[in-house]
Amino acid sequence: MLIKPTIIVGTGLAGYTLAREFRKLDKQSPITILTADDGSVYSKPILSNALAKGITANNIATSDANQMADQLNASILTKTDVTAINPQQNIIYTVNSDKTQQELQYSNLVLAVGADQIQLPLEGNASDETISVNDLADYAIFRKRIEGAKKIAIIGGGLIGCEFANDLCSSGLEVQVIERTKLPLLNLLPEAASETLHSALMQIGVEWHLLKSVTTISRNGSKFELSLSTTDSNETTVINEIDLVLSAVGLRPRTALTNACGIKANRGIVVDQYLRTNISNIYALGDCAEINGLVLPYVLPLMNSARALAKTLAKQETKVTYPAMPIVIKTPAHPVVILPPPPDLEGQWQSTNTDSGTRSLYIDKNNNMRGFALTGNATKERNALIKEIPTLLD
């Protein structure tokens, strides 16, 4: 009898890391990996840092799907979308770019489908001409579009917005960032850290439009014109002569597949600490997953999850545990490392200035440090501080 494969949907960092970790434990059991794109391996975090480093879109990918299939002893189906899941019969239905439909049986199914960039509803005749960079193909388009461009507007001063602002500005482009809160990255950073990042990026030339939201994008010849509304007032601002509008307002886990087949989804696909959905033999991993209520679309949680799930699939049931997992924000003008405190933990940030940065510690009501945010030269203290922090999920 033919052994049904483990099917992994997605060839991002989650899907490929899982396959690689699984192969360390099990050399034989069949693996099939499906991907909507071409299955190239690349580092997604590099996309918002490649320009100033002189890396082109063409040399970001390090292996293609054929090389990965060899390396992982796996069958990789590229340009293939999953259209439905039948959990009663352990079957998924797929269609590829030639419109060929297939039914595939699985022993275990792992959804590692990632997240979409959130698209804001905007007005104006060019509202659909913003660009978001969520994968390598997007990035190639982005690099083509910035050839010869001078002025870039970035919607969103979060992690990705700040990284792109730094990268584009350091590469000689004029960058304006529109952020609806009063400072960049306030969802992650305490105010003191956010302020130093804000001024460091301003010093390299980033122009900020804080407490503002884009309402309208219109085309004016070859340029764009953006109307901004102001939070808490009726004032409007217009910025014009923009060559490219980059939208970076956040990620939304992809959960579309789950509704029809009864897999529970909340913000992300709901899984427990074994990465199990509510349906047996179906797991979720990476940016699409909500693990014990946590959606953490960063590298370290993903790597920890992939290693745990690989063991579980190799029949050594393993709970994912999260050690202290710092998030590195790649803004070379003013580097930032943050270890967010556990959600809903009572406490407060205590910030001090260092030579060329800030050190903020999150202190809970028992006077224990539970998180930190370091900027500038204070980022060097990261490893010393991590040792003092308890785990997030154990």
């Binding site: 580092s43 840092n49 790597m303 590195v328």
Partner: protein, 58 residues
């Protein structure tokens, strides 16, 4: 002295600077870093992921 970049997360190791905070002295060559070393940003081990030499493009 070379610069190396982690394929997974983009972390850059500069041989000239080393990682003094992790006990790796300035000037330590990539080859001389122990095999149980893990990338400080993403945790992948040295043996799992070859770092790519980006000296020429950086």
């Amino acid at each position: 002295m070379k610069k190396w970049q982690c394929l997974v997360c983009g972390f850059i190791y500069e041989e000239t600077e080393g990682l003094p905070d992790e006990g790796i002295e300035a000037g330590t060559k990539w080859n001389d870093i122990p095999d149980d070393w893990a990338c400080p940003d993403c945790g992948v081990s040295k043996s799992d992921f070859e770092m790519v030499d980006i000296t020429d493009v950086a």
